[in-house]
Point group: C2
Chain length 399, copies 2
């Protein structure tokens, strides 16, 4: 096995947390291009150089530590949510750094390291890797703004030491990303490792139903075209109809609801709500989409509502590369026999974009109580080290 | 029959509309204590004097036209919603004026007329009649403010010609209020008159369910405590359980919903919503309340939600006086045989407050398409005149 050093790995992980440490538990406030984010990236670049890698900061501020010649690329991101935890992204970057460092020390296979910029989507969605992969043009990205109206172009100009050009993807043989699960499954099942089979695809649309706004006292139930009641009926019907289509990994969410006029004495005449569903299988996403469209049309036409579907956001599921995934599975079975599982990733990651450029695979470690995107995010340090060891084992196996 | 003059009645109704005419259809913008409202009340006082009534403007700006000695009181209000119609309130005042005027001319029974101030609740709820009836103290009313922070005390000081004292309720034998239905029933059934049996009671509360906010991608359906799903389940269950308790006149409404954090990619952890129900029968309101409380508790405990009930607004149903109501029914049957009905009032009216002081009864005429509290509010003029004739017939019968 590569001579990885858990103590050095954990020390670096805690050092990274000191940039933007929130003072609440192990919380971190280090959004993309903030002062702590830029300082953390400069610190990281120094650690990469110390490890014998050559640093390349690309035009959007993603920080690469490059091994010589053709190499495996590993990493994640070091920017955080506005109120985030210490592991989301950071874990994958520091684990990659430790493996690359150990490999240099032992004369092992060449490993490059990356921290992508703005994975958490202050401006777009996984913005740094989206631009590198070509999923988002730099011109288009520059036109994006954060909530305060700051443009991506202005923000990325703040990042010092940027190169003129992007790294050539052809120099990498594949991409491995280690990440916290951000869900409850491994923690609940007391398993140490999840090897990802697919990053789920997402469909997301806003649906609007327009009925009739009325006085809540003088309008009999029978004649109402109450938009909230229509939403509630739609919600119950799709749950019934999904039952024959979904798997235990499938999820769907109505997370946003806006009623109009939203007053207790008025029968609501209009509702706009979000309908989001995720699954690792593109066919299943399509079958769910048909159920959603047909059910909304049925609820609307039977109840006398006007119906509008907003534009649909669609991201296809991404299958992990079988060779890379096999190396992770082999290392997991050797490290924690019977205490790992194959599972989908319900969240997007930089690996989604990188699948356009090269083979990708992902590794999960447990999130305590499934908590993430919050100050309370945490993982037992023993589990972090187990993940590091599996990653190192896979790199060694891949040669 | 008293020598009512439909042309004079309609001319006065249109003259009143000219104060605050919105320029959209027959719309009116004449909120309480606005310049158009004060001007309209001065005009009304003049018409009362012309009709031989003595004018009394009470301390809050309600305008009385008093007949000598003990009399029947009739009227409603001349203030409008911020964006209102030409008939809501105005119809009852001008119909009362015409009947009082005709009665004076013919030496019929003495009839006094009133336009209460702020029925539409710029400051409170049916504020002018609430103060007169003692349901709301003048001190407490003075502390109420409108949306812009203007106090009721400041607003009522704008009304010229106010007396020091309130009218003595004991001089009236009862109160009759004619009003538009503000609902669709009479219009849909092509009936001309509704005689009100009760003004419905209202219960209104805010309910909060707190589950767990989670990532919409990484949290399996099985472990979710999704506040929107809890609301949807509650909504379906109460509809089922109400079925054995309600009548076709019972209404209930979830008109206000606030989800938190209300984002498409986050399982909503909290929902606050309004639950309002109305019925003419106090027992039924109570039975519905028990269903609501028990169902919310069941949904919360079975799904692992925290539950909070906000303070409950409760207004008891008000029964109409049988003698006054009988006079209206007799006049309706003689005027439009078979084309009238007994029905509850789903909306509050000044009569609700006056029931504390004297016997009350109410008469409805149709609202085209049930529209009210909007510029589009209207009623066929033939129906307005039918209502006037029924009112006059009832006054004559009551002697």
């Amino acid at each position: 096995m590569l001579p990885i050093r858990p103590d050095r790995f954990l020390a670096d992980l805690h050092a990274l947390r000191s940039f933007g440490a929130a003072g609440v538990g192990k919380g971190v406030v280090r959004p993309a291009y903030s002062e702590p984010d830029i300082a953390a990236r400069e610190w990281l670049a120094g650690r990469m150089r110390d490890a014998g890698l050559s640093v390349h900061v690309d035009p959007v501020g993603s920080v690469f530590g490059l091994a010589e010649g053709r190499s495996l690329l590993m990493g994640s991101h070091t920017d955080s949510q506005p109120e985030g935890g210490w592991l989301d992204g950071a874990l994958g970057v520091i684990a990659a750094l430790e493996v690359a460092r150990a490999s240099v020390e032992a004369g092992g296979p060449p490993v490059s390291v990356v921290s992508f910029q703005d994975e958490e989507g202050r401006f777009g969605v996984t913005t740094g890797s989206a631009v590198w992969s070509g999923n988002l043009s730099l011109d288009k990205a520059d036109g994006l703004s954060d909530r305060d109206g700051l443009s991506f172009a202005e923000a990325r100009a703040r990042m010092p030491g940027r190169s003129e050009g992007f790294v050539e993807p052809g120099r990498f043989s594949g991409f491995l990303e280690m990440h916290i699960e951000q869900g409850p499954v491994l923690d609940r099942e007391r398993e140490a490792i999840g090897v990802v089979d697919a990053i789920v695809g997402i469909r997301d649309m806003k649906i609007t139903l327009v009925g009739e706004q009325n006085h809540a006292g003088t309008t009999p139930m029978q004649g109402r075209r109450d938009a909230f009641q229509a939403l509630s009926r739609f919600n119950a019907l799709i749950a019934e109809r999904f039952a024959n289509v979904v798997t235990p990994s499938t999820v769907w969410t109505i997370g946003h609801v806006t009623l109009h006029p939203n007053a207790s004495s008025i029968v609501p005449g209009r509702v706009k709500f979000s309908m989001q569903w995720r699954d690792g299988d593109a066919d299943r996403l399509g079958r769910m989409e048909r159920i959603i469209l047909e059910t909304a049309e049925e609820v609307a036409s039977s109840g006398g509502f006007d119906l509008d579907f907003g534009p649909m956001l669609g991201l296809e599921p991404v299958q992990m590369d079988m060779r890379l995934r096999g190396a992770l599975e082999g290392a997991a079975e050797s490290e924690v026999p019977g205490r790992w599982r194959v599972m989908p990733s319900g969240a997007l990651h930089d690996a989604t974009n990188l699948s356009k450029l090269m083979p990708v695979a992902m590794l999960f470690v447990p999130s305590i109580n499934g908590i993430s995107h919050a100050f309370g995010e945490d993982t037992d340090e023993a589990d972090l080290v187990t993940g590091l060891r599996v990653l190192a084992g896979a790199v060694e196996a891949l040669g």
